[in-house]
Amino acid sequence: MKSFDEMLIPEGDVRDPYARFYEWFREQDADALGEKAGEAEAFFRRTGITFNVYGQEEAAERLIPFDLVPRIMAKAEWDNLAEGIEQRVTALNAFLDDLYHDQEIIKAGIVPERLIVGNEAFLEEMRGFRPPGGVYTHIIGTDIVRCAENEFYVLEDNARTPSGVSYMIENRETMMQMFPELFAQNRVRPVETYPHHLRRSLAAVAPPACDGTPTIAVLTPGIYNSAFFEHAFLADQMGVELIEGSDVAEIDGRIQMRTTEGYKPIDVIYRRVDDAYLDPKVFNADSVLGIPGIMEVYKNGGITIANAPGTGISDDKAIYSYMPEIVEFYTGTKAKLQNVPTWRCAEDDSLKYVLEHLEELVVKEVHGSGGYGMLVGPTSTREERGSSPRS
């Protein structure tokens, strides 16, 4: 794939959505912009807008890179993209519902059974259970790249516990403070309503046991988790509790949190803890991050878990390669968003091709996520390519 310049056309012209920005940009003094970038970093550092990288002692908290050049999308482009994402998310939800019930898509021979049965992300516990509102994937982080004018590709459908939205909102906030004139000159759609929408989405799927206004909580693994800032940010912006596993217990068939006044039931839990750690009684018995007994309470209608357990079966890298067919199967229409060309290394011919073209390709583990467990061919060294798994 060729690289694509979002702002400039090769002949030197500017793409329309960038016209006003580019004009402003050219008037700026490079040193002054550099200074502004430094100010932004200091601001992020002071506010604690950081993320942690596992396995790196040094600089345990790192800053999100801040780009002074915004990514601008025209309304028409955005509308197209939004439609495509909606279609894809609808399909993913239907796919999950099908996998945990009748498995029509396997019967139809579209997705091979071997990818589902025996896949560790497929949870037997979820078979035959339908979450409140029939919603499995309340939050999805679709990774998109743009390769040409109005040409978007999906890189990944993150349907487990995607993170990043808080950095986007804080980035926007910072841009507005540093360059208010840009917002005066351009009509920019606001993004800070996200927490409000999230709260409403979560409140809409309250479990049968809830009477009255649902009590919502964000479950975090704690301050050492890479995305702790985001967990705190979302809880804060939604005005809901930020809890850890040690704050809650299963009492009288409900999941209840320990407050200064005693235990209080939670109705909807937006968990940022992976399936494997969610309930030590059912999954990883050593987990101290989870809530013992939550799966049973969940299945009895005592709590809603967002995202539902077992959504990981829909977004692994092998399933990804079937997404165009999956979208068509459930929505009856062609997928609006394209997949990046993908070779399934389980198939001999594909594997051969991949090994011969490692330098040009990105190789991902089927169950990897969050940038872990992957090889980026074009920027890799010979050693890295030599050590990448061959079976």
């Binding site: 550092r45 002071r46 506010t47 604690g48 704690g222 301050i223 702790f228 705190a232 809880a235 804060d236 005005g239 509790e241 930020l242 809890i243 850890e244 040690s246 704050d247 217990a249 949190m257 320990r258 407050t259 200064t260 006044e261 005693g262 209080k264």
Partner: protein
């Protein structure tokens, strides 16, 4: 919105450690002044700084003698010393990060920035010459945090738990200073009530930032009874035991009202406060200042534990 027990715990300890960082800095300030005068015939002045901070055993486990630079480094920078300025601020900030949804954005930023600034300042060893500036920096950051706290936080239970942490820590600190220095104030060392060589005494007042306010409250002469009265029983002195307990009792009263329940910790606090009200300075000295302080420190700790239990800071097994 309900307040999680863990959050109340985090607020409480965040403020204990913010208070502690500053107390440690102030103890160093007093120690430094005494050392600089060369008047001190007590080679263990630095040792008494460690005892006041309650970290003598931790120090002795690492170092043999009380070399000034070593003590200063231990109290400022050493991560193995939980009461060092650096470790205290780190603990305060970690707690703050954990409970940041309960803090105003301004307060969280003040805590985070103080930690960043002081950590950077303490990255290289601090020389004797730089010490006053560093102590000043710690005090100013403390003032920034407290000022932000006072002016941006809602007066709800979050505010109360922060205050409880700050004032229980402060009461503990003042009591320890009194306990370490009581021998200076006792009759066998001086005629109670008589004017004395005042240098040591002024250093005691300085370690609680009160050498000027003392002069306003009393006649200007340094007398044992007055100093003890000032640090223990004077309710206008913001670091005295009595003042700390005024705030503690008040905070617990707000919590009673807010939650509509009276816990045993409230009774404990009123008892301690009552004892401070009933005490006369003469009786306290005659009955044994050391004994009085010992009981006070123990009760103060007990109160902290009861608050934690009554407001469910920890999961019960």
């Amino acid at each position: 919105m309900a307040l999680l027990g863990r959050t109340a715990n985090g607020l409480f300890w965040m403020f204990r450690y913010i208070e502690r960082a500053e107390n440690t800095a102030r103890l160093l300030d007093a120690g430094q002044r005494i050392a600089l005068t060369n008047l001190s015939s007590e080679p263990d002045e630095w040792q008494s700084v460690l005892v006041s901070a309650g970290v003598e055993a931790a120090y002795a486990a690492k170092h043999r003698d009380y070399d000034p630079d070593t003590v200063v480094d231990f109290m400022l920078c050493d991560r193995d010393n939980p009461s060092s300025v650096r470790a205290s601020l780190e603990t305060a900030r970690t707690n703050g990060r954990m409970v940041r949804t309960a803090l105003s954005r301004e307060l969280w930023e003040a805590v985070n920035e103080s930690w960043l600034t002081i950590q950077r300042r303490l990255a290289a060893p601090v020389t004797a010459r730089e010490l006053p500036a560093v102590i000043d920096l710690v005090k100013r950051q403390g003032a920034l945090i407290r000022g932000t706290f006072q002016t941006t936080m809602l007066r709800n239970e979050i505010f109360d738990f922060c205050n409880l942490g700050a004032f229980i820590e402060r009461a503990d600190n003042t009591a320890r200073i009194l306990d370490v220095k009581y021998w200076l104030l006792l009759p066998e060392h001086s005629q109670v009530g008589s004017a004395l060589d005042n240098f040591q005494w002024r250093s005691i007042l300085r370690s609680v930032s009160a050498h000027r306010s003392y002069a306003w409250e009393y006649d200007g002469e340094y007398r044992a009874v007055n100093i003890i009265d000032f640090l223990m029983l004077n309710r206008r002195m913001p670091r005295s035991l009595a003042y700390c307990y005024t705030v503690i009792e008040e905070s617990l009263k707000y919590l009673n009202r807010n939650y509509e329940v009276r816990h045993p910790c409230f009774e404990t606090a009123t008892q301690i406060n009552q004892r401070l009200s009933d005490a006369s300075i003469r009786q306290t000295i005659d009955g044994g200042l050391h004994e009085f302080i010992e009981v006070f420190i123990r009760d103060n700790n007990r109160l902290a534990q009861e608050i934690g239990q009554n407001y469910r800071f920890y999961p019960t097994a």
